[in-house]
Symmetry: C2
Subunit: 390 residues, 2 copies
Amino acid sequence: MLPKGFLVNGVKAGIKKNGKLDMALFYSESACNAAGMFTSNLAKAAPVIISRKYLIKNPKNIRAVVANAGCANACTGKLGLENAQFECQAVGANLNLKPYSVLVASTGVIGQHLPMEKILKGIETLSVNVLKNKSDEKSASQAIMTTDTFAKTSFRKVNGTTIWGTVKGAGMIHPDLKPLHATMLSFILTDAKIDTKTLNNALKEAVENSFNCVSVDGDTSTNDTVVILANGKAENKISTENFKKALNAVCLDLAKMIAKDGEGATKLIEVLVKNAKSSKDAKIIASTIATSPLCKTAIFGNDANWGRILAAAGRAGVNFNPEKTDIYLGSLLVAKNGAAVDFSESAALKILKKNEVKITMDLKAGKEKSIYYTCDLTFGYIKENASYRS
Amino acid sequence: MLPKGFLVNGVKAGIKKNGKLDMALFYSESACNAAGMFTSNLAKAAPVIISRKYLIKNPKNIRAVVANAGCANACTGKLGLENAQFECQAVGANLNLKPYSVLVASTGVIGQHLPMEKILKGIETLSVNVLKNKSDEKSASQAIMTTDTFAKTSFRKVNGTTIWGTVKGAGMIHPDLKPLHATMLSFILTDAKIDTKTLNNALKEAVENSFNCVSVDGDTSTNDTVVILANGKAENKISTENFKKALNAVCLDLAKMIAKDGEGATKLIEVLVKNAKSSKDAKIIASTIATSPLCKTAIFGNDANWGRILAAAGRAGVNFNPEKTDIYLGSLLVAKNGAAVDFSESAALKILKKNEVKITMDLKAGKEKSIYYTCDLTFGYIKENASYRS
């Protein structure tokens, strides 16, 4: 369900050792207002540096994003920067686009150089497909996957305007995306008529409550990138409010898919911290619980070990009163005022065995809240990550 | 090798379901100058609150510490506090000690009440042993173990003064011990003639570079406690410098044992960050690497994945230049100026397969350094923690 005027596709360029789809192109037939958010990691990958630069230079005339999986082009020095720029130039040459109108993103192993011969052939095939008006959402969203087990897309259609997005990411997931800064990759396309300022604000707000509230392993990547392209081809002008609502919904859909598909995950975990003094306090506590290995393995083991949840909150660095705090698993109260209640273990087990588990912590200190998304920590995570590079 | 004038022993009180040793008593025949450091977790366990209180009230006349494993007496409300106090009173009654001269520590499952009947019987047996002059370091150090696979003790003897210490801890290990604040438990006994002020300073310094530089899983416990008792029975007065040196050595020995025996660990990992602008910067970066699941699983998998190490450093929140940073595994240079070098994979494999792996990061930004100790993240960790409470 792509918005009007966009073509996307994915190809096998031979970067991934397993021969799967590994390059994607997101293309607009006309100039787009664009906004992006990038990783705040100091070790920024070359494509992050280049895309950020182009976006600052040329925010009202972005035409395409080229992305690859299998090699992150991170920690690759001067040659890495040259390679990323060369990718943009190659897309431009094939599709007759101006310099700085093509963005670039990479994901995969850190510290290795892009196989440029394969990359350039990939770009050629992707461009030929676009010129032939071939478009295929499925292959594009599959081509950016690394350890993901399913392709992730979502869309909303409101008042004739469509917002479509895809995301990849299963490990090294703890996005800390900053405007013009953000290995999750997400590409969002819309035919909304919207100016760049409103687009930037809308993206920032949507990311803050979605991608910036997801953690798989607490490891913020060198390559995290979210880019939104708006080509203005929709029939009607959408209200800012409606646009924001739809964009929030698409980003939240995608963010939850990341947590659900976290490396080795068997469960999506939603951590709600409510009645906090501030939403910032709530978010810090929720993220500490969501990144606690002890909490995450307990949920994997269907263990209603609420003591670990309270202990994680207690080390979050935020001031609150543990002795006033209640904890729920699903709708089951397991701790009241920081101490045990006599709950039914079988009821807890039933809740914990579901593939979506909600933890609620009520601080009874104020009116603010925050929700953080994560997954359980399992044997599968260890298996995946003890052998990734080799 | 206990210092003069101390008796210690451990018994089976029936708190642990597996019937192993689970209560220990550390006893001095005469009054001790004492110092303690406790967890900074907001959710402080009852024994932490009580021991801290007694230590503030009575730092020059501490006579004993009673400890149990199997139940943490954390998140247990008013009854938990009463039970902890009652333990101290019971030891006092059995051994004719004044109020506030007995400290208490617990470790085990959070949110459950102590089985007081068993505890009181345990205290009686421990006291009878002491009155009969029975002392047994091995049983005392075993009795405080939870998921530990070996008992941990260390000592130094300098100029006729002995410092002996024991520690427990394998999971929920990321001590953030503050003076009069610190589930690792450590009890250090010495016959040194030393005043409480010097003792406090020496303990603070030793802990900062040992227990506060260890992480198994990043989860700071509700019960962490280090207590040192000095009874002044040594023949000579030891110099403060020599005392500090020996205490540092004992604490570092014990801290490294914790990392080596981390839940599921197959390797001790030492992370050295050097040539930083400040030792604080170095410590933050080293601890971020030491708590990165991706770095820890890579080491488990013998994967020289230095990109994960640089990525973890980059998200530490400390300003440094990744493009000037070198990384070594053992003595093997694997990344220079933030980019790959052509190192021998077989040489790296040989280094990674050892049961002690040293990671060195050279920031080339200053002259300060910090060392952090951790372990690999393995299938064993998941197995241990997916089924702990039940």
